[in-house]
Symmetry: C2
Subunit: 345 residues, 2 copies
């Protein structure tokens, strides 16, 4: 994967302001590095935007900026994050991702080799997720006005279902499924930042979750809601659902998988894994009578092989999330008021 940087490092060891000025250096960077890495007919047209044909159907559009620090972490980097994060947002709309845009804000002085690593990671992640980067933009800001690389991706996808999917669609007796263990992405980042070492390295769960979502839809599961568990973690996703639907949700603490090393790191760092960000995990709310079949479908995909049932929608009387602890007591889960983990994505 790591081929030679296509910009001669001897000439340009770092990104300069001129690489963002719209002149010859900008064109060299775009043509030799970005176009070469992401080549596809839409991008190759080289216009101000990408032009494509869509069949008459519903589409989804989403965007996220990525400011993760550090740029590289166990299990991923800002490039794979920028692809998977946006691809997953489209999946959460019940859409098959098609095209991504890529906006880069580079800091003057960024080593050219670092940029090349990020570009290769984007290329690899886009191929894995079966999406094409069809248009982009590059800006360079002065030294000290950025932090190496910030990325933005916007994504376009085609809806794979005619049903409405969203937090307000959940109903009493629905079952809440979780696609795997939680907390790894946030802890992987924090471990690097804090210099923590564990027996085995904790890797981010960063991955595309398109496959299980499309399979659920293909199998005719009447998905009521989908949410990826990024900033704010599982707890915030549950609270958002309770609020949007005016519903009481109850989840079982013992049913929520958290790896032992992640739980240990959370204790050291004073974090609650319920609030820690994930980048390859989602919750899905389905009718109770379809939940077993939905679990089977999810478990058949590698990215969601450890899927579990974590709770139910109890009623639509008042918006609250109850967590039933291991000893049987109920506690209310609320949204985090402050900042737990800055620049996690």
């Amino acid at each position: 994967m790591h081929t030679t940087c296509p910009i001669p490092i001897s000439d340009y060891p770092t990104v300069t302001l001129a690489h963002g000025g719209g002149g010859a250096l900008t064109h060299q960077l775009i043509d030799k590095m970005f176009r070469a890495a992401f080549t596809n007919p839409l991008l190759d047209a080289g216009h101000d935007g990408a032009v494509f044909q869509v069949p008459e159907e519903r589409m989804a559009l989403t965007t996220d900026s990525y400011v993760v620090c550090p740029l590289f972490f166990p299990g991923g980097d800002i490039g794979s994050l920028a692809v998977n994060g946006t691809v997953n947002d489209l999946a959460m709309c019940g859409a098959k991702p098609l095209y991504l845009t890529l906006g880069m804000i580079l800091e003057e002085g960024l080593p050219m080799e670092t940029l090349w690593r990020v570009v290769q990671s984007i290329q690899y992640a886009a191929a894995e997720a079966d999406v094409r980067i069809v248009t982009g933009d590059t800006k360079v800001v002065d030294r000290g006005k950025g932090d190496g690389v910030y990325l933005n991706t916007a994504g376009v996808g085609v809806l794979a279902t005619e049903q409405d999917i969203g937090p307000s669609c959940i109903e009493p007796e629905d079952v809440i499924l979780l696609s795997g263990d939680i907390g790894r992405h946030g802890i992987a980042i924090m471990a690097v930042r804090e210099g923590l070492e564990f027996e085995s390295e904790i890797q981010s769960d960063c991955a595309p979750v398109v496959e299980p979502v499309l399979k659920l839809l293909k199998e005719g599961i009447a998905i009521h809601s989908l949410r990826d568990l990024t900033r704010g973690g599982l707890a915030s996703a549950l609270v958002e659902h309770a609020r949007a639907a005016g519903a009481r949700l109850q989840v079982e603490e013992a049913a929520i998988p958290v790896r032992e090393d992640v739980r240990g790191a959370c204790e050291i760092l004073g974090l609650d894994p319920m609030y820690v960000a994930n980048e390859g995990r989602f919750m899905v709310v389905v009718p109770g009578d379809q939940s077993e079949r939905a679990l089977q479908v999810m478990r058949a995909c590698a990215v969601s092989a450890e899927s579990v049932r974590i709770g139910t929608v109890e009623s639509r009387e008042r918006p609250v999330v109850h967590l039933k602890s291991r000893i049987g007591s109920l506690r209310i889960v609320d949204m985090l008021s402050g900042e737990q983990l800055p620049r996690i994505c």
Copy 2:
């Protein structure tokens, strides 16, 4: 337009890292400020992405990040720029802009009132350009890792023509039209940065150019190419055309409108107006026999009322741009190799 900031300044005078953490403060900022300002059914759905229906046709997708410094300048600000820049990129594809995404990277410590001014400007510009902000994302980076506000917008539009439009479509005997005077955006920014004062303030030309483009298409003008004259200015756009089509272009220096105050400022700053960025100007290449009618159509729109014919496509023998000076000599116009104006957009 300037109503009270919807976030109580007494509680939160500035943006904090917690505003980007995905918890209660993030939700407050999104709900009270962003959703309230940009309200529309697609955005109000409050999902991870916006879902919409499109008729079966060709679509355009584009993106730009905006890192302009200073955030506010005569004739515009980063907010209006982020709307008009992306809307104009869609217009350059021959598309009618429909939807925008909005990604914000805020620096910790940004005054909340400043953010509110930017948001209002985006709201106003989107209404002017008749586009809707349908989904967005907010990140906060630590103090000293940004510069107040960076924006990214991606845009989706529906093609308003079946013809292919692009630099490679230009042909000998085509005529090159320019939609008005050049150099004002770049000079407006530089004047603020350098503290220059002129008799009359030089205002940016920042504006949407959708109207003349759609009217040209509606009138049946066989547009061969369109290009907005942003970073790198008119010169870079011409060179890109010459290279893409392997064509010799010839433009008349005397035909290119540059305001006297802009010309004077360029002399003081050592800049060539041909390379200075514009944000409401475009060049269009049309068949020679349609150029007069095209000019009439363009001049009927306020944003392109001063449209002029500046040159022709001479041949497709070799890629070169010739500028015929006022005294009749020819000089070759090349792409700028270095950085003329950093962070102009």
